[in-house]
Amino acid sequence: MSLRPDLALVADLIPRGSRVLDLGCGSGELLAHLIEEASCRGTGVEIDPGQVLSAIRLGVPVIELDMDNELDDFSDHSYDVVVLSRTVQTLRRPAAVLRHMGRIADQLIVSVPNFGYWPHRLRLLGGRMPMGRDLPYSWYDSPNLRFTTLVEMEELFAKEGLQIERRIPLTPSGRPITAPDRLANLFAGAAVYSLRA
């Protein structure tokens, strides 16, 4: 099974044999890969019924719950790695979720779309809300509730005491960008962070 490029990047950040909690696991593709190929164990969390069914069919343990309110069920340090992939922008209480993640595991992997990506800035200058491959929705039907740039995301990480171990800025198609790292907030459509609690 070949993994979506952005998920493959996440998978590479996870040590073999880890116990992984994947928040917003979708159809369970990442966990299925980690269980199969990297001797990991894990649990997915997902709220979309169709995705939950797909994960069950793949043999990925998945718990249907509301991340904004029900992460208390996971105990402290019960996982090695907790993943939040392209989900932080859909949360009502992203700071609270990050706090839970830091409590549940020592390593956090967060991927986030960057609203500071230059085409989005141009669109906004032209009087329209950002849209594109990473942000394919109109403002009125978007599941995204939170709009952040990489700079502001990193401010929140710092505020929550999370240290950035690695940052991988991505193109909209999910491949690492070649531009200089300091220009990531302008040239990355998204980024993957590996953090330490």
Binding site: L53, I63, E64, S75
Partner: protein, 382 residues
């Protein structure tokens, strides 16, 4: 209601009976003491694979029986879980060998309080031992062994059935690869026990209960047993389901307001109570409700030691409008299993039908079971 048309039937079936324990080699009970002989009524559907690795055990709930699927000779109604079990159905008998047994303590073919006590030659009555869920599981295990199976591909049950699955897989993870625990509880609340207490009181204060010796006296505590069933039935349905079915509709024969059956819902409950008398025994009702009251497997700190060593794949389901064993009960099970490092899957199924939903062909519910069983089958598919 969301229903899917039945895809296939297992057809004509019959119940078998086997003696699994004898007076000389009795069942040793969890609380001490023994029970023997022990006869068990059971049915099977589908074909056991040459490696005996495709068996799925169905644990029934409080008032179920061994007849889970297909039709008995001359019957117009199929078994109680026929919408789930059959060729092409989620529990597909073209793939799985399905076993369902009547519980001991019950009254539909397996040894229970109305069976003959070999010591007295009369029915046990209240001399029958108080049972625990683990005792029910020990008998299931003996049946599985008798059928030449060392490891079940899955065990599934709703309500009290789910409690048996939980106990079984937690105690013997080497015998159950996949455990499906549906609309169950790991610990009854005071409210749950209270409802059962009123049901038992209705039975035991019926003058025809005769301290449990009603069979010898040639009577039956019909009034008490039917009241117990009427009340329990209210707890099986959600308020919304009763509203949708009956609302405040009058009974067709209603004249002036009085104290007969004035509302349609009263007629329905009356019918449920009366129909129950045909198929259930008052003593079994006492014993099997007590089994549930005492169930508390996680009270034992070592309860999950075995599954920590040898994890089981769990599927835990609850129904949104179930107020008997609602989502909080299932989430307690999920949380405890997850803390023990188990691969556990949980869903709360949207359904307006309350606790009874686990017996219905609610679409997202059956889709979930199908996905889980299809995946489980890959473990043994030829």
């Amino acid at each position: 209601m969301d229903t899917t048309p039945p895809t296939g039937s297992v057809g004509l079936v019959s119940t078998s009976t086997v003696r699994l324990f004898t007076a000389d080699a009795p069942l040793h009970l969890e609380r001490g003491g023994t029970l023997g002989p022990v006869d068990v009524a059971y049915e099977t559907y589908g074909t056991l694979s040459p490696k005996a690795d495709n068996a799925v055990f169905v644990c029934h709930a409080l008032t179920g029986d061994a007849h889970a699927a297909g039709f008995h000779e001359g019957a117009s109604r199929p078994g109680w879980w026929d919408n789930l079990i059959g060729p092409g159905k989620p529990l597909d008998t073209d793939r799985f060998f399905v076993i369902c047994a009547n519980l001991i303590g019950g009254c539909q073919g397996s040894t229970g309080p109305s069976s003959t006590d070999p010591e007295t030659g009369a029915a046990y009555g209240l001399r029958f031992p108080v049972l625990m869920v683990r005792d029910l599981v020990e008998v299931h295990r003996a049946l599985v062994k008798h059928l030449g199976i060392t490891r079940l591909l899955a065990a599934i049950g709703g309500s009290l059935g789910g409690m048996q699955v939980l106990q079984w897989a937690a105690d013997h993870p080497d015998e159950v690869a996949n455990a499906l625990v549906i609309a169950a509880s790991s610990r009854l609340t005071a409210q749950n026990i209270a409802f059962s207490a009123v049901a038992r009181r209705a039975i035991m204060t019926d003058p025809n209960f005769v301290d449990g010796a009603y069979a010898q006296a040639g009577v039956n505590p019909d009034t008490g047993l039917s009241i117990a069933r009427m009340m329990a039935h209210i707890t099986y349905l959600s308020e919304g389901a009763l509203t949708e079915k009956f609302g405040r509709a009058p009974h067709p024969n209603r004249q002036e307001p009085g104290f007969g059956i004035d509302f349609a819902v009263e007629s329905y409950l009356d019918h449920q109570g009366q129909a129950f008398l045909e198929r259930f025994d008052a003593l079994s009702y006492l014993y099997l409700t007590r089994v549930m009251d005492y169930f508390d497997p996680f009270a034992d700190a070592c309860a999950l030691d075995a599954v920590r060593e040898s994890p089981v794949k769990w599927l835990v389901l609850s129904f949104a409008t179930d107020w008997r064993f609602g989502t909080d009960h299932s989430r307690r099970i999920v949380k405890t299993l997850e803390h023990a490092g188990q691969p556990v899957t949980f869903r709360e199924i949207p359904s307006s039908w309350g606790h009874d939903s686990f017996l219905l062909a609610v679409e997202p519910y059956h889709a979930t079971l199908r996905a889980f069983f299809d995946r489980a089958y890959e473990e043994v598919a030829p």
